[in-house]
Symmetry: C2
Subunit: 476 residues, 2 copies
């Protein structure tokens, strides 16, 4: 990365001005591009913030950039003078495309955490770094010789990884499957994406939970699907609602997260699971079962997934290592009838030519390790401790201002704020105080809900985070 | 994977019948599913082929499976008797979806290579395993401690990898860029996919080379693009053709592979490069420059990419490690204006949440290694040798039956067959003789062309492969 030259005659601020002017001239920063915040750029370049402020002032004075309070400094849209008029209108291109941008508040959270790495992050669904099996991964790399073929792998996924997963799914989730019924994907996310692209067509009606992680994904809208909602109760959705949606809208698929649902933390009761499978079979509607959290169960009893009871080939089961080992390995899987697996494999091949063999190899070694079980046990304990800390602090400082039911697993606490509130504004107040969470509206919930994740902040930061949130809430 | 139990009383063939019946009953193999060939299943289960033949006969007799000569054995579509009628109609689902299946002949080649691993593969654009930097990768894993964060990485890509790529692009390709203008993707393939999904809308007109690798990709059709062709001459496309297509069809983007073009092996002349950039700038049309092969240049002089001459921010540059180091690491990159990079990063985040940190870390170590340059030099020599072997054999055995111009780099030899021929039928004859290639029609070429890749077969197999091909050609 470019850095100003401290030994040069030109003042630092002027070097920054020249550098940005150059980027504008060569259309690397086309009109409308957002510049980093003054603080962030100062950090990146290793200069004082005042130097960056001076540089931005200079650029503003020449009309090359514009600042709008609250939305940062951008390359000027009106001044095309210095920018070559032959540059494609990139702004117009980037505003087009089938694929929709992320939810506004999701992007706001990402921006806030990038601008201030010290922020307490109760928004991310990622484990804190001490919960990853770091030493296991390092020792696998160090001690186990890697001799796999470095070419394109089997597009369905590395065979030994699929074999190990067959064992893991049998052992922990009571799912009987074979490696030919399994596709390895880049986390759960890619499984969901492939389903929306390959098994559904624009205009198709689907049912998702309300609230739901899926609602936060523009991928459903990008695929042109009509989305209908299944309200989530304390024991999960009501299976009869599927019947009603089918009668009214001919829904073609149901997306569910039955264990420690994201964001509510609820689990579908066993009676409802049985009923649900019967209804889906009667209507011949596939169920997509997203199951990222079941292994985190605090009491050690993993709730049996729908897939383990599925005798009709109705369920497409999705799992991943992201929430129980390492999200950075990007390893997920889908278990489904072979016809489905073949279709999705073919499409994935065209999108990205499959996954890294190195990552699949490491994941396989991790799953097959004699220490994997111990890792899962420690993870459960650590998550339970973190949840307890969050619950206790909330009860202490916001006793009658919020309500929640602590789930028995997973990474999230779903909180109702006992007053009318604009959750976007509450997020802004929280960001000012150094903490982020996900506003419920991102999940399509009714107003006044938020999702706190206890996965990412360190145990000792959870209390500070809740106190900062409490302070933000007091502004309303 | 399931294997028959040799110590059981039940005969092996009957165990296979029972196993397949069970899979049908539990809808793991829905109606219409293709069973493995008899030879393949025998290999998988470690039984004689005659045992599998007996099992399939039994299943056919009961009406559970059907065989059609030339298209294998499938689960019967008509006999729903044993299969639960409550299974979703998976066949209907998999035939829907926005994303189109791969080209028929592409799937045929894949099937042939999977069924017979000993086939001589002149279809794959993958390097043979001895050309990968196997020892470099093993020693990186063994000797360099891995201490990276195992969580989600920066969605734009691992910072040190982007930094190393800035240096590599400067050194080999004369491209000046910064890490903020770069996105790390899963090979070139994902860059292309993101462009079609995020910068273009259904109905948009684009221009691609004729013939072209892009033509083989249903991703262009899946995105609903209108495709217009730029004929490829010995010195590449004619820039004026872009002007004409723009006037007639308002094309919005041009996809090119200027160095050792896939499949023709041609390179765009320097005069044409300059003219092309001027026309694109005048019309303000972006050029997507796919550049997977430039480092393979046999004489060591890497042709400067369009991006290195691009002062207007017109070019989206795509590169990858797949053709010059290891396709299995799945590392590609795009260099583009920051507005574009931000939009694509956001979308990629939603599709798969980014790439494996492990794979990015290993790629960075590889690129930064003092041995990387030596690897590239050896690779060039080996590819040149393989090309020579192919050229000599073709000249020897098919002198006046084929014509071609050996390219100065890349992995492919584009051959014209000097007679009228159905290239699909020629492929079938070749498969029978143990060799595959890609028929030109996959790339949208006029009849009578084929693409031979010399990357994957071992040097000593190239001669055998061409002899087998010659034999196949004699059938016409």
């Amino acid at each position: 990365m470019w850095k100003p030259d401290r030994s040069a005659q030109t003042p630092l601020y002027q070097q920054i001005v020249d550098h940005i002017e150059h980027a504008i001239t060569y259309a690397e920063l086309p009109p409308g591009s957002l510049l980093p915040s003054e603080r962030k750029l100062a950090d990146q370049l290793g200069v004082n913030r005042s130097t960056v402020i001076q540089a931005y002032d200079e650029l503003r004075a020449s009309g090359l950039v514009e600042s709008v309070i609250g939305s940062g400094t951008r390359i000027s849209l009106t001044k095309w003078g210095i920018s070559p008029s032959n540059t494609p209108n990139w702004r117009q291109y980037t505003e087009g495309g089938t694929f929709l941008p992320n939810h506004r508040l999701t992007r706001r959270i990402r921006e806030a955490t990038q601008n201030d790495p010290s922020i307490i992050n109760m928004a991310s669904g990622e484990l804190s770094s001490d919960l990853f099996p770091n030493e296991m991964v390092s020792s696998i790399l160090r001690e186990q010789p890697f001799h796999e073929h470095l070419g394109y792998d089997d597009p369905q996924g590395y065979h030994p990884l699929r074999e190990s997963l067959v064992d893991v799914l049998q052992k922990y989730n009571s799912i009987n499957t074979t490696k030919s019924s399994m596709l390895i994907t880049s986390g759960s996310q890619q499984s969901l994406y492939l389903i929306t692209q390959c098994l559904l067509s624009p205009g198709d009606a689907v049912a998702i939970e309300d609230p739901s992680y899926s609602y936060s994904l523009p991928m459903f809208q990008s695929a042109g699907l009509r989305i209908y909602r299944l309200p989530v109760h304390e024991d999960g959705i009501e299976p009869d609602d599927i019947m009603n949606l089918y009668r009214k809208h001919r829904i073609r698929m149901v997306f569910l997260n039955p264990n420690y649902q994201n964001p509510t933390g609820t689990s579908l009761s066993e009676a409802k699971r049985i009923k649900l499978l019967r209804i889906a079979a009667d209507l011949r509607i596939p169920i997509v079962e997203d199951d990222p959290f079941s292994l985190t169960t605090f009491d050690g009893n993993v709730p049996p997934p729908l897939k383990s009871m599925d005798t009709d080939g109705t369920v497409l089961y999705i799992g991943s290592l992201s929430k129980v080992a390492a999200s950075g390995l990007r390893i997920g899987w889908m278990v489904a009838p072979q016809t489905v697996i073949e279709r999705l494999t073919d499409a994935r091949q065209q999108m990205d030519f499959g996954l890294s063999i190195l990552s699949q190899w490491a994941a396989q070694r991790l799953l097959a390790s004699e220490h994997f079980d111990q890792h899962i046990t420690s993870l459960r304990q650590a998550l339970f401790q973190k949840q307890q800390m969050m619950v206790q602090t909330l009860q202490e400082v916001l006793e009658d201002k919020v309500s929640f039911v602590p789930p028995l697993g997973g990474l999230n606490l779903w909180c109702k704020i006992n007053q009318t509130i604009d959750d976007g504004k509450l997020l802004e107040e929280a960001i000012k105080r150094g903490v982020v969470f996900v506003p419920g509206s991102v999940y399509g919930s009714e107003p006044g809900y938020i999702r706190f994740s206890y996965a990412k902040p360190k145990l000792e930061d959870i209390r500070r985070g809740i106190l900062a949130f409490s302070d933000a809430l007091k502004q309303f």
